[in-house]
């Protein structure tokens, strides 16, 4: 949880665009977090808990590793 030096990246922006330009607010409502938190996750400023990460993957109906990547 929290910032980990930007090692965790994500493709949320691309996945939102692929879902008919889903807004950050729509994603936030479906995941159960605030829009500001989605924005922070998307900008790699905040690494969410495992539970929120799984909920985001479930909204996009893709495996977790297709949403989040861990770089060395």
């Amino acid at each position: 949880m929290g910032k980990r030096g930007g090692m965790i990246t994500n493709d949320i922006r691309t996945l939102r665009a692929a879902r008919g330009e889903m807004t950050q607010q729509e994603l936030a409502d479906r995941v159960g977090v605030t829009r500001q938190t989605v924005n922070a996750i998307e900008g790699n400023k905040y690494s969410p808990s495992l539970e929120v990460a799984f909920r985001i993957a479930r909204v996009f109906e893709v495996p977790l590793e297709q949403v989040f990547q861990y770089g060395e």
Binding site: G2, T37, K45
Partner: protein, 137 residues
Amino acid sequence: MRMSFQEKSHWLVFLSLLAVFGYYFSRVLPAGSINVEPEHLGAFTFAVVALVITQIVGHTVIAFVDRRSDTDERDRLIALRGTRNGGYVLSTGVFLALSAAVVTDGNFLFTHVLLGAWVLAQLVETGSQLLLYRRGG
């Protein structure tokens, strides 16, 4: 990034504390005293009432403008980190106030070191929360 309800609320608390207790300390500290006098209590009461009114009115306006006041894991993490930082300042302030009570006569310095530590702790708590919101979490 547009500010959330929580962030606006922290700005209100931070700025109102700074303004109200900045005014209080600028009125009371320059004259100094050995003991807390009735006029100090009057200024303190005025400061507390002004702080309460400012925060009630301010939060009403924020709630009217921004209907979403829900919180999530990131808000809770930021709140915990802010409280931890404020706690360090408050515990240091309590130690300094006790030291002041031992080495000085009267209750003026002890009271104001303690009050100053509380105000500073609140400023550090909300200030670090504001910084964490800007940094992402």
